[in-house]
Symmetry: none
Subunit: 240 residues, 4 copies
DNA sequence: CATGAATGAGTTTTCATTCAT
DNA sequence: AATGAATGAAAACTCATTCAT
């Protein structure tokens, strides 16, 4: 939705502006982000910004889309070559986890900006067509259903709930890894790709996938019969 | 952190103010929330507010604490009587899920306000002493470790990762249930306790717990040996 | 429509502000009048103005009403004592002329402000309830009808048209007198009452009234019969 | 005062621009009229406009002149053929009334634009060389004097005052007719020539001229002696 | 202790105008 | 001659906060 004026801008100038704009809107909530401050930092005239974008909201919506693009691109390159053909749902999950973490570490500003989008005023949120939590959930749900068809996933699982659980697990992974790496989520600086040490990340992904696959319960206690019996009993109103 | 002036206020007046203040800060982001609008709605003098609270930030921090209190109280009463003594970790999880959902449905404003707290400017977030995501995580971690000690949870699980996974699952439950109930997350109106139909909620909780306990993989495929073998193999660049 | 804040202002401050505000809106058209300039001149904070009035339009509408009040008051005092009881329509006209001229000379700013009101954006004009050209016209029409009833005015006159003619004559008198006095309509300074020299004004009024009463046609040519015959003939496409 | 660039424009383009420019400046006061809006609507480059005109003021002054030209042209054609050679002053008045009304109905935008010219900031008004109220007055005055010479008008009339009265009557005729026709002065659409129904207009003009000629006073009361005697008496402080 | 007017820096946005292409 | 991006001053208006009453 930016005007053509913006799109015709020299790539360098446009890129520079985008970095600063993303920062402004990642560091402040929507109302708190200041056009005045932004243009001052970017060294462009206030009037110019309004020749690039219709208004503050237009700018914000574009920045969100832009950030999504940046992250997606990162996912695309990150995924390339890592796994052979298509892989099952667990491979997909690992891929997503990897992408999520990569995004959180390498593009923290963009990631935070997108977070903001979810909390922005309802009037704005409504215009974010690709309400991407929803999209992500639906995608995950499709994966689950497919995996149930191939027999990879237990057929008795509620697809909706399962998709939710998996999405929640993957989605929250960024902060976890940051903590593990001893980093502050606030840091503006992108973690360079080579610091995304597989030796650190892979075990985390393994652990998560292990839980996803087999659950948390102690192994021997998982006899078929006991499992069935205990299903609701264990957790429900102490009835047992 | 409110001044004593506020605490000495007639309970009625104080309560009324809190409702409106929570609404203002739940409906708008921190910068967008307006003291002027709030006092106008609440019908109190602007000067009075500044005799109750030091400044906008002080008010906000207090509202967050207040909202947490409201939700906790709800959890307390919700938990009462449902489960006997303490219960295992799965019982605890069910309890937390129940509480989370209850909070999201019965106190949507407060829930949204707390969400905002996480997205507020860094300067403010730093002052939220009980950075409650952290708290929740630590609490969950303690639960996990304890459960491993009692043998309820598999001992080979990484407590940190497990705690994260569980916290993420529980935390994201609110929206899921809202969707299931066909409700809009924006709705101001608290869903009355009696609409929290157990017949709807319990199956959801069951589904989640089933996954948590046993994982998502199809049962027969879970032979011990295969599981071990496939652990990293399946999802990891096939290299091994 | 000003807020009570404005009405509670010390009379002195309020009066001073009104003078400057009237000037700003008399010297500039609505869009050109500047709130910033006004508050700077008046030495009040910009925020204060917005505690007096809701917005620019609110201020303007109030100023128009205020100006009308000033002029009306002037009319009231000007009329006092000049004519005995009520008088016929011609007395009324003389009174109105006197009032109009007095207003134009003694309160030029207010008069110009009101002129502006007629030319302001339609959205604003619609809110000027007492669209006073209309009011004046209706008043005049009533006068005419009454005078026809008493036999003072010729019964064959179209009241509508007559009212229009009389209103136009009276309304345009201000500039005429200004010119006669050798004054510039732009002058901000109010002409003091004692410069409204009756020796200058009365002959003008007399002349006008003479025309109103008897018309412009040369006397001897006004034989009853000729008059009737010539009525349309003279002025209409030479048909005769 | 437009630059030659403008005059060299293809007639079609120029005409189209003028229509839109007149509309912009007729619908908004001078300060409120927007060059940006105008060029956007007209589909010309902003830079181009500044190659046609020196600045906003230059454009405005030209538009006023242009509008006057349009109206005059209309008068010229309207007058054609209606009256034989020259006619007396009353014929002239009728002609002027007809022209005025025609202008108001057929070129409302241009008429409104000219109205604005009178209310524009002093700095601009000063540059409107043909301050046409003045012009009209002087023209009318010449007419009056001439008519007095030919004996058509009473010789004792003050030419200045008479000219004023006549100009005021003619000038205000537009709105009167609009009202009579049940039209809104705001309407952009020009009333087509054939809706200027003579059957409606002529009686109005007749009524006006009747007043102008013979005055408003009831006939029998107009004996020569009484008239002289009452001249000042009637209208002046009831002294008689 | 309550009040609410005063404040001026702050906001987003539009403006007329310039000038390099 | 035409273009339209760049400009920054200026616009109307809101803000959190203070303070005299």
């Amino acid at each position: 939705m930016p005007k053509t004026t913006f799109l015709n801008l020299p790539a360098k100038k446009r890129a520079r502006f985008l970095v600063l704009a993303v920062r402004e809107f990642a560091d402040n909530d929507y109302a708190g982000a200041s056009i005045s401050r932004l243009v001052a930092q970017a060294g462009i005239a206030k009037g110019s910004l309004y020749q690039y974008f219709a208004d503050k909201q237009d700018l914000f919506l574009y920045l969100v889309e832009h950030a999504q693009g940046v992250l997606l691109e990162d996912v695309a390159t990150a995924g390339t070559g890592s796994i052979g053909p298509i892989g099952g749902i667990l491979d997909q999950l690992r891929l997503q986890m990897s992408a999520t973490v990569s995004a959180a570490l390498r593009h923290p500003q963009e990631a935070r900006l997108i977070q903001r989008a979810y909390q922005s005023p309802a009037s704005i949120r409504r215009k974010l067509e690709r309400h991407d939590a929803r999209v992500r959930h639906d995608h995950m749900r499709a994966l689950v259903v497919a995996a149930q068809t191939t027999g990879e996933l237990a057929p008795d699982l509620d697809p909706e709930v399962t998709a939710h659980v998996l999405a929640a697990i993957v989605g929250g992974l960024g902060p976890l890894v940051l903590t593990r790496l001893g980093l502050d989520a606030e840091r503006d600086t992108s973690v360079p790709a080579d610091r995304l040490d597989p030796a650190v990340l892979e075990p985390i992904f393994d652990s998560v996938l292990r839980i996803v696959r087999e659950g948390v319960a102690t192994f021997p206690g998982r006899g078929t019969s006991r499992r069935r019996a205990s299903r609701r009993g264990t957790a429900q109103r102490g009835a047992e």
